[in-house]
């Protein structure tokens, strides 16, 4: 009997701790498959964040380091400088990367640090119980914006992909979503390309993945997927914001 589906060997046997309807599991799998398919997984080194993915070191079947909140790009920099031939990646959420870790991500990007960052954006602090994130949408209710995010009071969402794509150091920056199958396929292609360009030594690569948080959004898994499609994508348009290998140098789709 032909095997039509198998779990990727780049994921450990440990069951995910993520909530029902959370898309971290899908994203983990895409990263693991990309590493495996490129043949760089066994010798990859990953850096886990502080946030819902804090236990990522239990799931990816490669050497892993756990970083302090926001510092994953600096930790990955240290690793990559010691192991320049290995695939090095960080897996970070929006509080970790777009708030407390802004300095680290911007400088890793502008140095053209040859690492891949998987940036999971679900517009909220998940692990700590649903507080307002730098990526929380205007009007969005969270435990620290109970009247909805008031932009006159606490500003606007940070658009990480757009911002980092203005720098010279990044080789590839794309925003994808995993709310349906066609988008999951596109997301995997983007992640795979990011790792490929890293291994080719092109520079810093980042894939922003729009993700769900049904628990803290107060939605069912299905409603959460619809909210990504209907509310998040208009605020965070999908596309490739930077690709140094694109011909010619016009971004495909993104950078609206």
């Amino acid at each position: 009997m032909a095997v039509v589906f198998a779990k990727t060997k780049m994921l450990c046997e440990k069951p995910f701790h993520y909530c029902p309807g959370c898309t971290h599991g899908i994203i983990h799998r895409l990263v693991a498959e990309a590493l495996d398919e490129l043949g760089i997984g066994e010798t990859a080194i990953g850096v886990a964040p502080v946030g819902c993915a804090v236990f990522a070191y239990d799931y990816f079947a490669c050497d892993m380091m756990e970083a302090a909140h926001g510092r994953a790009p600096a930790v990955a920099t240290g690793i990559k400088r010691v192991c320049p031939d290995k695939a090095v990646f960080t897996y970070q959420g929006d509080g970790d990367l777009a708030s407390i870790g802004t300095a680290e991500i911007i400088h890793a990007a502008t140095r053209g640090e040859k690492i891949t960052t998987i940036f999971v954006n679900n517009a909220i602090y998940g692990m700590t119980g649903g507080q307002m994130a730098p990526t929380t949408l205007p009007g969005q209710v969270t435990t620290t914006s109970p009247y909805g995010r008031d932009t006159s009071h606490c500003g606007w969402p940070v658009k990480v992909s757009e911002m980092l794509s203005t720098l010279t150091g990044p080789a590839y920056i794309a925003r994808v979503s995993v709310h349906d199958v066609p988008n999951i396929k596109k997301a995997k292609a983007a992640i795979k390309k990011a790792f490929q360009l890293q291994m080719e030594g092109k520079g810093f690569t980042l894939v922003e993945v729009l993700s769900t948080c049904p628990t803290n959004w107060g939605k069912t898994p299905q409603e959460a997927l619809m909210w990504v499609k209907e509310s998040m994508i208009p605020a965070y348009p999908l596309g490739v914001f930077k690709d140094v290998t694109a011909q010619p140098a016009t971004p495909e789709g993104g950078a609206q």
């Binding site: 066994e42 050497d63 892993m64 380091m65 510092r71 600096a74 930790v75 240290g78 690793i79 010691v82």
Partner: protein, 475 residues
């Protein structure tokens, strides 16, 4: 061959010679020559220097590189070291070896850029959050900074724990002759094992499983076990790595405790005081943690007092007091904020202490003491004179009371008084008798007059007596 080198540059070269190939740092005075030197030298030896966007990023890069198994170093000065504390706590928790250099400057806050030792607490108590210790090496010369920096890499690898080299602006900026040939291409210590724990993207084996470099233990019981295991490691460091230097301690009544820059000042002051015959010695901690408690307690056999000299408001003095445990007085002298104590003021402190512990032989040592003592002597003399006079007066009074003349006179007076009293009493009694006699005569006279009057009245009433019956009274 010895060459003249600045402390910062010598430390950087020593690190390279000890196999350090990675350096991450951020500019801050007074340690800038370390990153500058590294940026020039590391590419020449196939290493990597990277100027980080912040001290926070630098220490996290150190964590990554150390976690990947490399010999790695960062350096900074006080405010920058404060920023690194988060990373240091994670590095200790995840058991990653690395070397950190702190060229201490005056604090708190932005403070100054001059040398200080006011980061002692931060260095020896951990500095970041959680239960932890770091081996802290405090060089007192450029040569020692070189030697200790090289040892630091071995100690860090041996225990999988960061090691802090604690200098100050003076150690960093000062030029001294150093023997770099002695430390060239220094091999790691023979006891060090392969880093089979490193997250370097290796294919897992039985000896070297998949690496997880981590400080997160969400189950409190597991974390407690982890902390107990770390503590056992710190106990081992305390037992094996403690270093100190003893100078002129064999007969020392005064023991100076000083490290790094202040130990040099203390040494000069100590020699001056020795020339004056003061029995003073010095114990110089080379490891600030572990602190040389046992060595310090041995000095109790001769020591009468301790003097701790620091470029701070007094931090190591706590550890000295803990070691001495109240058995002797522990004095402190310090300058801070970038001020460096002079040999003269330190020597004055030692002399003052020597006087306070010396037995009193009656000699005056200061003008004030002379004045006070002069005044006291005069008061004593005056009191003696007054006392003598009082004694004399007392004697005279006693003699007078005891003299026979006085007794005779007293008897005469007594007799006279007695005679007088008898005479007076006779006179009074006579007078009273006479008075009563007169009163009696007067009474008799009055009684006689009354009798005469009565008889006269009776005779008059008999001549006009009415008839005994017939008449009606009042008609």
């Amino acid at each position: 061959m010895k060459q003249l080198m600045k402390g910062n540059e010598a430390i950087a070269e020593a690190a390279i010679q000890a196999g350090c190939r990675f350096f991450f740092g951020y500019p801050i005075t007074p340690q800038n020559q370390i990153p500058e030197y590294m940026s020039k030298r590391l590419p020449q030896v196939g290493g990597c220097f990277l100027q980080a966007e912040s001290e926070i990023a630098a220490i996290n890069m150190v964590y990554g590189a150390g976690g990947a198994g490399a010999r790695v170093m960062t350096s900074s000065s006080s405010p920058g070291i404060s920023l690194k504390q988060e990373g240091i706590s994670y590095i200790v928790g995840a058991e990653v070896p690395c070397v950190i250099v702190n060229m201490v400057r005056g604090g708190p806050g932005l403070g100054s850029i001059q040398p200080a030792q006011s980061d002692y607490y931060q260095a020896t108590r951990g500095g970041g959050h959680g239960d932890y210790r770091m081996c802290v090496l405090a060089p007192g010369s450029v040569q020692e900074a070189v030697d200790l920096t090289q040892d630091a890499f071995d100690i860090a690898d041996r225990y999988r724990n960061p090691v802090l080299v604690l200098g100050d602006g003076l150690i960093g900026q000062m030029m001294e002759p150093v023997d770099m040939d002695k430390v060239a291409d220094r091999a790691p210590a023979a006891d060090l094992k392969e880093k089979n724990w490193a997250a370097n993207g290796h294919i897992p084996t039985e000896d070297s499983p998949r690496a997880i470099i981590n400080s997160l233990y969400i189950d409190p019981q597991v974390l407690e076990n982890h902390c107990k295991r770390l503590q056992a490691k710190y106990d081992l460091i305390a037992a094996n790595e403690c270093r100190w230097q003893e100078e002129m301690l064999s007969d020392a009544e005064i023991v100076i405790v000083a490290y790094g820059t202040t130990s040099r000042i203390a040494r000069s002051a100590m020699r001056k005081c020795r020339e004056k015959g003061i029995k003073v010695g010095m114990l110089r901690p080379i490891t600030l943690w572990p602190f040389p408690d046992a060595a310090l307690r041995k000095t109790l056999s001769t020591a009468k007092a301790y003097l701790v000299l620091e470029m701070s408001m007094g931090q190591m003095v706590d550890d000295v007091r803990l070691a001495i445990n109240g058995e002797r007085p522990v004095h402190f002298y310090g300058r801070t904020g970038g001020m460096v104590p002079t040999v003269a003021e330190t020597a004055a402190q030692i002399e003052q202490l020597a006087q306070s512990i010396a037995p009193d032989d009656g000699t005056c040592r200061t003008e004030f003491e002379k004045t006070v003592r002069g005044a006291a002597e005069k008061i004593d003399a005056a009191a003696e004179v007054v006392g003598k006079k009082l004694d004399e007066a007392g004697k005279k009074i006693t003699e007078t009371f005891n003299s026979p003349e006085l007794h005779k006179k007293a008897q005469d007076v007594g007799k006279q008084a007695s005679d007088f009293a008898v005479r007076t009493a006779d006179t009074v009694a006579k007078g009273v008798t006479e008075l009563f006699g007169a009163i009696g005569k007067a009474v008799e006279s009055v009684q006689k007059d009354l009798k005469d009057i009565e008889q006269q009245q009776k005779a008059e009433s008999d001549e006009s007596e009415p008839p005994k019956d017939g008449g009606k009274e009042g008609e």
